[in-house]
């Protein structure tokens, strides 16, 4: 009996400490991108491994975040999406906001946002639990990841070189170096990219955490 109690206690403690230990992973570039499954805004289950064969770009987003707002308001994000889609890249916009928090949307709102903003993601993924976000170590919106056709993670970081700081709100997108659109050719060639890791800037991802 005593043994059972001990075992049960251990199990409970182990579970508790596991829950408290949820943390951001830090996937390495030029290594296999972690596989994941998520539901898109049409209720369809999307699996990364099914998409491999084409390059894939992940965009963490939150339409109420001022950084994301400016990227969409000035058509910057849409332009990058178009360049990528035209090149045959699969574009996944991922929302990791937890219900009740900023940026969380219903599937219908997600689709309405895509339409109203003239965006062209292949899928909008609703990651309410934050699992995909934490698997990739997504910290900010926007936060970008590029995966080549062989499933190798080639880039993680900021969308451009404007960087952290208030200058973002005055900076010109036209003059900035966009790390995603400027490196799509190398991504298509399944090559290691010249710039493969930068510090993402923006709002925090509104993860579920308790």
């Amino acid at each position: 009996m005593k043994l059972y109690l001990t075992l049960i206690t251990t199990c409970i403690l182990a579970t508790a400490s596991y829950a408290a230990n949820i943390k951001l992973q830090n996937p390495s570039v030029n290594a296999k991108a972690p596989n994941f499954t998520a539901v898109n805004s049409y209720g369809k289950t999307i699996k990364l491994s099914d998409l491999i064969g084409s390059p894939v770009i992940l965009e963490w987003t939150n339409h109420e975040c001022p950084y994301v707002f400016r990227h969409y308001n000035e058509n910057n994000m849409q332009n990058v999406q178009k360049i990528a889609r035209d090149a045959g890249v699969v574009w996944l916009s991922i929302i990791s906001s937890t219900p009740g928090d900023q940026g969380h949307v219903s599937p219908d709102t997600a689709n309405a946002l895509t339409d109203s903003r003239g965006a062209s993601p292949t899928h909008v993924l609703l990651d309410e639990s934050g699992e995909v976000g934490m698997l990739y170590g997504a910290k900010t919106t926007p936060h970008m990841y590029m995966i080549d056709a062989n499933g190798i993670l080639r880039y993680k970081g900021a969308i451009d070189d404007i960087g952290r700081g208030m200058q973002f709100f005055d900076a010109s997108f036209a003059e900035a170096k966009n790390y995603v659109s400027s490196q799509i050719d190398e991504l298509l060639a399944n090559q290691s990219l010249a710039i493969n890791s930068t510090t993402a800037y923006g709002c925090s991802v509104k993860y579920k955490y308790d």
Partner: protein, 646 residues
């Protein structure tokens, strides 16, 4: 959706310059500590009173966020420096972590102005990101008329709390963790390291603080990977912040190979140190006398000498490992902290001096130094000369040696032995070479009568060394004890005379009587004291003196020394005691501190260990503006010392 438009409208609208300004979730104002219109430098502070639950960011905002941007408009002749960041707090947003400020905060900016410039208005466009769960960029256009502004005490209060002091840290990388070691005289309950660089550390991971005993602490900071050469940031210790900065992989990360190389060079140079030179010269002389001899004989003598040196170094290393395993802090030359050992060494030096001077020949043992023709086949003589050379070398530290031995003694035992062997090899290097190439002996001068004269002359450096050791002995004990030692010297003299003069039974009776007298006197020698030896001209050293003086922005020079350390004593005379040096130290208001290790002292041993040293001399210099204190060269001259502290 409403939030966006709120954020947006605030962002787009430009507010007319005023003071204070409501920005939406904060009130921003410009305040100053300018007292009178003649001040050439003063501070202007941006005060941000944030609503409850809202925060803004430090220069490294952490996982997300942004530091503010300040654009000043000032008149000609006025310069506003960059912000001096207050110590941030952690603002966890699980699983993310950000660094910033909450509540009511003042960001101080130092202002310089040409004295003939008019005091007029100073204006600022202040853009900042303010966040609760959500983030909103807000801005304030502020203006302050300096000619009419009243000084606000909040500015000075903010300056007083700025993390301006540098704290010395000794850090190591273990796996994916950076372990920051620091000392604090006050007991520490909480510590947190805010890194200035991005992409080096896992911000969300917990930083564990452990006490290492006394006032030493270790903070474990998880890193993203183990590649780190340099870090800087703010270390918050309870409620105060300190600047820390460290280059890793220099002295701290000395590799085993580097330590071995240093030991080899140090050992080689040790031959020339004043305490060894006489004994070594005698050995060289004995080789000279072998000129023209059979090569194998020369080789065997050289090898015997090398054997003596190596086995002694090996014994010392073993002894040190054993003593260390008991937990004692030990160091090179530590044996000289015992007056008994100093007394014995005094007698050995004196004995050698007498033997050389009186030309007495003994059958074997120590006295075959500078051996004459008869004892040439006695290799044990060469062996013991090797032993003796190492024994008398123990008060000396040659350049390079300190760092190598420090490394050896602070590393696990498997690293200790190779370093000591390398030291021995370096020391015995020239003789090893002679063993390999005995024919090179012909390059030395031809033997002759001059050798006898020179040998007698070498008695004087030996007696001089004995005199120096007597002084060490007196510093350690008392004048009464010194008299006892001198009496022992006299008995030794009689004994040598008896051994040389009498034959058979009388010789042995004489030796026995001497031995008995010696034991009797040694028993009455006092135990050494454990205190610090004071010096009126210098400040007393203590474990906390460095952090205390750095906190007061006071430049200092620390001299770790001991009466038995001849290199230290030489440096005292050739550098520290010089008028130019004394004047410079006074002129520049440098606090001169002496840590005298003549007697055993655990605190000084710990102080040395902070610099990864176990022996002396060690000289430490710091002045305001230096991120960390500097270790000066082990062998100093007046110019060298002045250059290194200028």
């Amino acid at each position: 959706m409403k939030k966006i438009f709120l954020a947006c409208s605030l962002f787009l609208c430009t507010l007319a310059a005023s003071n204070p300004v409501e920005t939406g979730h904060a009130r921003a104002s410009l305040i100053t500590n300018l007292q009178d219109s003649q001040q050439e430098s003063f501070y202007v502070g941006v005060r941000l009173e944030m609503q409850e639950g809202w925060h803004t960011y430090w220069e490294n905002p952490g996982d997300s966020g942004s530091p503010f941007e300040a654009r000043w408009s000032v008149d000609q002749g006025v310069i506003v420096e960059n912000v001096e960041w207050p110590t941030p707090v952690t603002i966890p947003y699980p699983p993310l972590m950000t660094f910033g400020y909450e509540g009511d905060v003042v960001f101080p900016f130092k202002v310089f102005r040409a004295i003939d410039s008019d005091l007029s208005s100073i204006s600022l466009d202040f853009d900042f990101l303010i966040c609760a769960d959500i983030c909103i960029p807000e801005k304030a256009s502020l203006s302050l008329d300096l000619s009419s502004a009243t000084p606000n005490s909040m500015v000075d209060a903010a300056i007083a709390k700025l993390p301006t002091n540098f704290l010395d840290t000794q850090s190591v990388v273990e796996g994916d963790n950076l372990k920051i070691r620091f000392n604090s005289p006050q007991s520490v309950t909480k510590a947190y390291f805010f890194p200035r660089q991005e992409n080096l550390f896992a911000y969300t991971a917990t930083q564990e603080l452990v006490s290492l005993g006394d006032d030493a602490y270790e903070l474990t900071v998880p890193m993203l990977n183990d590649e780190i050469a340099y870090f800087s940031g703010i270390l918050r210790i309870d409620d105060s912040g300190f600047q820390i900065e460290e280059e890793l992989g220099s002295a701290v990360g000395m590799s085993l190979w580097q330590a071995i190389l240093f030991a080899l060079i140090g050992g080689l140079i040790l031959n020339l140190m004043p305490c060894v030179f006489p004994v070594i010269s005698l050995k060289v002389l004995s080789f000279v006398s072998m000129g023209g001899d059979d090569n194998s004989k020369i080789r065997n003598h050289a090898l015997s000498f090398v054997g003596g040196v190596m086995s002694t170094f090996l014994s010392i290393a073993t002894a040190l490992i054993i003593i260390r395993s008991t937990g004692s802090m030990i160091g090179w030359g530590y044996q000289l902290q015992s007056p008994v050992v100093v007394g014995i060494l005094t007698l050995i030096m004196l004995g050698i001096g007498l033997v050389l001077l009186t030309n007495i020949n003994f059958a074997s043992g120590l006295t075959t130094i500078g051996s004459s023709v008869q004892s040439r086949n006695d290799y044990s003589g060469s062996f013991f000369t090797g032993v003796l050379a190492v024994v008398v070398a123990s008060p000396c530290t040659a350049p390079f040696m300190g760092a190598a031995i420090g490394y050896a003694l602070l590393q696990p035992s498997f690293a200790t032995l190779p370093i000591f062997l390398a030291l021995g090899l370096g020391f015995a290097g020239p003789y090893l070479l002679l063993a390999l190439k005995p024919e090179w002996i012909s390059a030395l001068p031809k033997p002759g009568a001059w050798m006898e004269t020179l040998k007698q002359f070498f008695a004087f450096p030996m007696i001089a060394t004995a005199l120096w050791l007597m002084w060490v002995f007196m510093v350690q004990t008392s004048g009464d004890a010194l008299i006892l030692l001198l009496i022992l010297g006299l008995i030794l003299g009689i004994a040598i005379w008896m051994i040389a003069t009498f034959k058979g039974r009388w010789k042995w009776i004489g030796m026995l009587a001497t031995l008995l007298a010696a034991v009797q006197i040694f028993n009455s020698l006092p135990e050494n004291t454990n205190g610090l030896v004071a010096d009126a001209s210098a400040e007393q050293w203590s474990l906390t003196i460095e952090s205390d003086l750095q906190a007061q922005n006071q430049a200092y020079l620390i001299n770790f020394t001991a009466a038995w350390c001849i290199t230290c004593q030489t440096n005292e005379k050739t550098a520290f005691a010089r008028d130019k040096v004394k004047e410079y130290i006074k002129e520049q208001n440098i606090t001169y501190i002496k840590a005298d290790w003549t007697n055993r002292n655990e605190e000084i041993a710990i102080g040395l260990a902070r610099y990864e040293r176990t022996g002396i001399p060690l000289y430490i210099f710091w002045k305001p503006g230096m991120p960390r204190s500097r270790i000066l060269p082990a062998v100093l001259t007046e110019d060298l010392l002045l250059n290194s502290i200028q």
